[in-house]
């Protein structure tokens, strides 16, 4: 009888734990694990729906997410001033089908800036309404020559071979103008702490923001308003952020995106030389913004008080927060150091992503 009672109590405890803490269990994924899931979801600029859906499905239950027609996703908690907006972009680089040649090759336009030659001779995935169709970016016509005068390879040179030889056959596969195209992705895990893959920019930002949203106790937000946003079309001109900047009336905006580090073998170390694995980054100066020094000091103080490793640096490139500045917000970009930006091997260190996640949660909690 005694044994039965103990068993019953144990089972009850397991059941209650499951009911009460199921949400916590759902939240227990680290930003590193989330990153590995997020990078594999296709989301070329203008086609971010799947990424937004994934993030929305993982948000804590107590927040009320909103989505606009562009697929910007956000939630707001609290009231009053200041209004802090944290934003990461869901889109990635890629192509869109612009035409089909009589020989059955796809012609494309690019979404975002990159070296098109990275794609030459490689497998891509065409995301059609009926599913994924495999293709090969055909090498340039004289690719087999031994003594070739190599010319620059541009998006106009790209022709995607699907294994068929007519427009009709292409259409029969379900491929049509406007379908998005991504490289077939592969995650290279150098070690449990270091990986390289496509779309770390800015799925790492999305993952850090998502994980931070699960760590914050939203019931304790007082005397301030916090918005977490995942916006679209950053790579093609900060379009999603521009839309949100009008809508959100922010005092402080914290874009969460790559700090392009010059730690790679080709890069000039005159600037941006922040190593991987040494913590989150305050992207103080870039091509779109100069963060006020007093505000940087405030972030550093919060990081230090929470024992979060943090680095400070300047680099190039724009950030989503910059379009909030004309509306009166202060732009303070948060980052991780990443090498090989806008390639298929964007590299990131786990310690930096976790520090960034901690920093976001600390800023939400401690910023006054």
């Amino acid at each position: 009888m005694m044994k039965k009672n103990i068993l019953f109590v144990l089972l009850l405890m397991v059941f209650l734990y499951g009911v009460l803490f199921s949400h916590t269990i759902k939240e227990s994924k680290t930003s590193w694990q989330l990153l590995k899931e997020l990078v594999l979801i296709p989301g070329v600029s203008g086609y971010e729906g799947q990424v937004a859906d994934f993030i929305q499905s993982r948000l804590p239950q107590e927040v009320k997410p909103q989505k606009d027609e562009m697929q910007n996703l956000w939630f707001t908690v609290g009231s009053g001033r200041p209004h802090l907006v944290f934003v990461a972009h869901t889109d990635e680089l890629g192509f869109v089908v612009e035409g089909i040649t009589p020989e059955g090759l796809l012609k494309v336009s690019s979404r975002g800036g990159f070296l098109p030659q990275m794609y030459e001779g490689h497998a891509v995935e065409i995301h059609t309404k009926t599913g994924i169709v495999g293709g090969i970016v055909a090498p340039r016509p004289n690719y087999f020559q031994r003594n070739l005068e190599i010319s620059a390879y541009t998006t106009a040179d790209i022709a995607i071979y699907l294994g068929v030889s007519s427009q009709e056959e292409v259409r029969a596969l379900g491929v049509s103008n406007g379908d998005s195209i991504t490289i077939r992705k592969k995650i290279v895990e150098f070690s449990p702490e270091l990986l390289a893959t496509r779309a770390v920019d800015d799925r790492a930002g999305c993952a850090a923001l998502l994980e931070a949203s699960c760590r914050v106790d939203w019931t304790k937000i007082e005397n301030k308003t916090i918005t977490f946003a995942w916006d679209v079309q950053e790579e093609t001109g900060l379009f999603g952020a521009s839309h949100l900047a009008v809508k959100l009336d922010a005092d402080y905006v914290f874009p969460v995106d790559t700090f392009v580090s010059s730690a790679g073998p080709f890069d000039s170390r005159r600037f941006a030389h922040l190593p991987l694995g040494k913590g989150a980054v305050l992207r103080a100066i870039d091509s779109s913004n100069i963060a006020p020094y007093a505000q940087l000091k405030k972030v550093i103080a919060i990081a230090r008080a929470n024992k979060i490793p943090i680095q400070l640096g300047n680099t190039r490139g724009g950030n989503d927060g910059s379009v909030f500045v004309p509306h009166g917000a202060v732009d303070i970009p948060l980052s991780w150091p990443g090498t090989y930006s806008h390639s298929f091997i964007e590299k990131i260190h786990r310690a930096d992503l976790e520090a960034l996640t901690d920093l976001i949660a600390a800023l939400v909690r401690d910023w006054e």
Binding site: H122, S341, I345
Partner: protein, 372 residues
């Protein structure tokens, strides 16, 4: 009633025959998939030899020559026929480790001008004695890229720009995880299914040739056949004998000197990219290559065999092959049964499985002694 039974029986027969043909087709593909990720850069063929030996049926006695080619003799009589195929592929090796832990790489085999540029910015594997290590060939970061470096990448992509990042920070760390000089380096590979019966992948043509000969070996070994054939997977076929005219593959030279059979069938890839005879295309059947034969009986018989069996055959009488050339000077009857490949020497060589199937069928019939 009788008609119904006959009709049902006929349907069953049709289903069985389709199933059987699909099973046969998938057996070559399955073998190729097994071999696909096995590294085989020229001079580094041990892993592929081990893979082949593991797949061969028990009781097969193989031998090696000094360059590493693998021979399988079937039957007790003297071989009348030898089927030879390359097993090596273009690849790289570690040629240095810099103080920051980046690996420098080099190659022994040269090909089209663009061959190295495809891999910049893509995942690679270093094959160390401790096991494979993942890495990436570094690219400059786009946002902080100077116009000089951009120009280098666009107009002079070469191994000078190749820094293999394996995620370490020093030479010591690289050595500690097992990297040593001359470890083989290959791209990471994955097969791509294209529309219809086409598939694509790095060095896919060569892997399918290796798999084709292995498949027929599995079917007939260790039984004797009328031709008592010798099957050879050749090493170092991408490396030419210095100053040889016509161009001759070193591995093929060694094999041609060793083989006693008078009739030789070379199984290799045929690039369909405009550099050879116009009109050869994937999906139109295997390519029969037969230039310079003293004895034309075998090529005539192969053509008749294809005709009788309804197999489409493409002809390339004047094709010069560095793998075939050494045999032509030493043997009376040499033909090539080549697999047409689109986008050869790129990371996505495209092959039509219908061609593989036809080639497998032709080889099986030839090895049974028919047509020889």
């Amino acid at each position: 009633m009788d008609k119904r039974i006959i009709s049902v029986a006929f349907s069953i027969l049709v289903v069985i025959s389709v199933w059987a043909s699909n099973t046969e087709e998938s057996s070559v593909l399955k073998l190729a998939e097994t071999l696909f990720t096995v590294p085989a850069p020229t001079g580094y063929e041990e892993p592929i030899v081990e893979a082949i030996q593991e797949i061969l049926p028990p009781g097969c006695r193989t031998m090696r020559d000094n360059l590493g080619s693998l021979y399988l003799k079937l039957g007790k009589q003297k071989s009348r026929l030898a089927v030879c195929t390359p097993m090596d592929e273009a690849g790289y090796f570690v040629s240095g480790i810099n103080p920051q832990g980046y690996l420098r790489i080099d190659k022994a085999v040269f090909g089209p001008a663009l061959i190295d540029s495809y891999h910049l910015g893509h995942p690679m594997i270093v094959w160390t004695e401790k096991g494979p290590i993942e890495g990436v060939l570094a690219l400059p970061s786009l946002h902080i890229l100077s116009s000089e470096v951009r120009n280098e990448f666009q107009k002079r992509p070469s191994l000078e720009l190749a820094y293999l990042d394996i995620g370490v920070r020093s030479e010591d760390e690289a050595q500690k995880i097992g990297v040593t000089m001359l470890d083989a380096v290959t791209p990471q590979r994955e097969l791509t299914r294209l529309a219809g019966s086409k598939i694509a992948g790095h060095s896919l043509g060569l892997k399918l040739c290796t798999a084709l000969v292995l498949d027929v070996a599995k079917r007939i070994a260790p039984e004797s056949t009328a031709s008592n054939p010798t099957l050879v997977w050749m090493a170092q076929t991408k490396f030419p004998l210095r100053r040889s005219r016509p161009r001759s593959a070193l591995g093929a030279l060694c094999v041609s000197a060793k083989i006693e059979a008078k009739s030789i069938v070379i199984v290799d890839v045929f690039p369909c990219d405009g550099q050879n005879q116009a009109g050869i295309m994937i999906g139109n059947g295997p390519v029969l290559v037969y230039s310079g034969n003293k004895d034309t009986k075998m090529q005539d018989r192969v053509q008749k065999l294809a005709q009788d069996k309804g197999i489409s055959l493409q002809l390339a009488p004047d094709h010069s092959s560095a793998v075939m050339n050494p045999f032509l000077s030493q043997h009376n009857a040499v033909i090539g049964l080549f697999l047409p490949v689109k986008f050869s020497h790129t990371p996505a060589e495209v092959v039509d499985i219908k061609d593989v199937d036809s080639l497998r069928f032709m080889l099986s019939v030839l090895l049974q002694g028919e047509g020889i």
